[in-house]
């Protein structure tokens, strides 16, 4: 810096405003006697002066702590007079609050080309605390970065713009089996990645660093990585680009996903196995029912023919035997038909459509009209909503529940069945419960004979019956079918009852089905 500043050209007010206003340092021009006549906005902030506050009554003395002022007066100004400038440290005093601010000080003697003050003092102060705060913050940030790096469970590797490893955290040492010293300065593709992908990987990293972008930027990719002992493991790789010391660096986050991979593979295998076993079971039930029906039908037909053609030749005992055989065969057929129906309901027949439950229920009640009239009963249908479902299965469900409610009536009481439904919000509860989301609750309530609490699960089992056949007919398949239908829709069915008073069957079904072919929404 020259001995003294000499301003030869004119300096306009506007230029001064721009220059002095945009600087964060304290800049002041003062007379040789210590009277300030110009102070920039940053300077005004440091000493607590308003933007337009006049400086007329103030002296430089007012801006400094006492010791600082004395040093400026006794050491600084004489030095400026002698050699043209002085550098030191000072403490600025805020005029409003009295708080002190440590600053670095630079003082110059300035010769103005004209005017009544040919020689003035130019004083510049720089906020020292801010610089030290920044330095401290930087140190803290670096320490934080270091501790994050070192405590990370996942390996973190930083590569500089030359593609060379400059950071290799502890997790990386553990995962890859290399010490930091051995890896720093090498290329990731040389040590960490199998030779098969090295070339491509290297190209990608280089392209990435050069262009500042790449196909992998901001995405997670699955890669295979090498351990020092030659093992390989699957990993998820994320990359992020940043600047360090003015050069781009790339940080690689590596996550060992071998456990997750293994879990996923196992899960997929279980799912496939379950699917296959279910399919086999359904196929078995279907084929068995079909093939069992053939000989059975013949037993019944020829038995019938025996009765029709030879009935007159048989005595009463023989006719009774034939009749019993025929009844047993009829029942067997009923069971087989039930099994067949049961096996036909599969969750794979995902032919979902929007089903208006009100319409279906009215149709079901229409179909049961004869039965309702015969027993003098009544079916009340509420405001049922629409849901996405397999139409035929839903019809069967409502048909079975309604028919059941009519069937298990009390002998002394005409049956009254109430069918209702509405949307409900349901939170996910215990495992096995339907997932959270909008559900439709359908209830079928009757005033029939009901059942004991202990049977509330058993009634949904296949071929389960609570009553002798001569009291209530049936193969014990209706509610089992209901449960299968409901489960194929991802729902639940349950029942509660007061014996002798009536039962309520409650069905919860998702309003929408995932992965539908027709894709319509109710």
């Amino acid at each position: 810096m020259s001995e003294a500043l000499e301003i030869t050209g004119g300096i306009t007010d506007a230029a001064y405003q721009v220059l002095a206003g945009s600087i964060s340092d304290f800049i002041c021009l003062a007379s040789a006697h210590g009277e300030p006549f110009l102070l920039n906005p940053a300077g005004r902030r440091m000493v607590g002066l308003e933007e337009e506050e006049p400086l007329g009554s103030l002296s430089l003395h007012d801006f400094y702590a006492e010791d600082s002022w004395k040093e400026l007066r006794d050491v600084g100004v004489p030095a400026v007079n002698r050699v043209g400038h002085w550098e030191g440290r000072s403490q600025l005093r805020n005029l409003k609050t009295g708080t002190l601010l440590a600053v670095r000080t630079l003082m110059h003697r300035v010769r103005l080309p004209q005017g009544e003050r040919p020689t003035v003092l130019a004083i510049l102060h720089r906020d020292d605390e801010e610089a030290s705060r920044l330095r401290a913050a930087l140190v803290e940030a670096q320490a934080r970065k270091h501790s994050i790096l070192e405590s990370s469970v996942d390996p973190i590797i930083t590569v500089n713009h030359q593609g060379v490893i400059i950071e290799f955290n502890r997790a990386a040492e553990q995962a890859f089996g290399y010490s930091r010293e051995k890896v720093l300065g090498t290329r990731p593709s040389d040590v960490l990645f199998p030779p098969s992908m090295s070339a491509e990987h290297r190209r990608r990293i280089e392209r990435y660093l050069e262009a500042g972008e790449g196909s992998m930027l901001g995405r997670r990719t699955e890669v295979t990585v090498n351990r020092a002992n030659g093992e390989v493991f699957p990993a998820e790789l994320a990359m992020v680009l940043s600047q360090e010391g003015g050069s781009p660096v790339m940080t690689l986050f590596v996550r060992d996903i071998s456990l997750r991979k293994k879990g996923e593979e196992e899960q997929a295998r279980y799912a496939a196995e379950l699917e296959r076993s279910n399919r086999e079971l359904e196929q078995f039930a279907y084929v068995a029912s079909h093939d069992l029906q053939e000989p059975l039908r013949k037993i019944r037909t020829f038995g019938d023919r025996l009765e029709v053609k030879c009935g007159g030749l048989l005595d009463e005992t023989a006719r009774d035997c034939v009749e019993r055989m025929q009844k047993a065969a009829a029942r067997m057929q009923e069971l087989i038909e039930g099994l067949l129906m049961f096996s036909r309901i599969t969750s794979r027949a995902r032919d979902f459509a929007v089903v208006d439950l009100a319409v279906v229920t009215r149709e079901v009640v229409g179909d049961l009209e004869a039965q309702i009239e015969r027993v003098g009963g009544r079916v009340e249908v509420g405001n049922l909503p629409k849901i996405q479902a397999e139409p035929l299965q839903i019809r069967q469900l409502l048909q079975n529940l309604t028919a059941n409610a009519l069937k298990f009536r009390r002998p002394d009481e005409p049956p009254v069945v109430k069918i209702d439904g509405r949307y409900v919000q349901r939170r996910a509860q215990q495992p096995g419960a339907p997932p959270a989301g909008e559900q439709c609750r359908i209830t079928v309530e009757d005033n029939g004979i009901g059942f004991e609490e202990q049977y509330r699960e058993r009634i949904f089992g296949l071929f389960q019956r609570l009553h002798p056949r001569d009291e209530y007919e049936g193969a014990g398949i209706g509610l089992a079918l209901c449960r299968k239908i409901v489960e194929c829709h991802g729902g639940t069915i349950s029942a509660r009852s007061t014996p002798g008073k009536g039962s309520v069957f409650e069905v919860l079904l998702p309003v929408r089905q995932g992965g539908t072919r027709r894709g319509k929404q109710p």
Binding site: E294, R297, K298, R300, T301, F302, D304, R305, V308, A330
Partner: protein, 146 residues
């Protein structure tokens, strides 16, 4: 007993069922000429021979077709003969144990004339034969032989 006026061709590999159909027809008073084939290939062979001329074998007035047969089954045979312009005017009634939705819709789509599920009782079978006989041989105009 009047002389048989019509020919019924039964396509069914099951001897019991053939016997039952025959007995049921007799019980129903349908004394028609009966011919039996055991699978789809035999059925098509029979119909083509009958079509090509001569009195033997006679062209059937009605075919009772079982779906489940060994080799070429009823579904395949039905598709082929309904696709054959010379044979597709022969009335075909499917008489089978299957009441599966798929089978029913497939057969009608192929152009079958009726679809009947085999009744589980002899009385039921007699009733079916009586009705079929009355419908096809008394009510309906059948295609004329040339």
């Amino acid at each position: 007993m009047k002389k048989p006026s019509h020919t019924i061709l039964i396509a069914d590999d099951d001897e019991d069922d053939c016997l039952l159909v025959q007995e049921a027809l007799r019980e129903a008073g349908q004394e028609q000429e009966l011919r039996v084939v055991r699978d789809g290939d035999e059925l098509l062979g029979y119909l083509r021979r009958a079509q090509d001329g001569g009195q033997d074998p006679p062209r059937p007035d009605l075919v009772l077709l079982d779906l489940k047969m060994p080799g070429k089954d009823g579904r395949q045979a039905l598709r082929e003969l309904k696709a054959d312009p010379r044979l597709r005017d022969i009335p075909i009634v499917v008489l089978t144990t299957s009441s599966a939705r798929d089978d029913v819709s497939y057969c009608y789509a192929m152009g079958v004339n009726s679809y009947v599920t085999k009744p589980a009782s002899f009385r039921g079978m007699v009733e079916v034969m009586r009705t079929l006989g009355r419908y096809w041989f008394e009510i309906v105009e059948l295609p004329r032989r040339e």
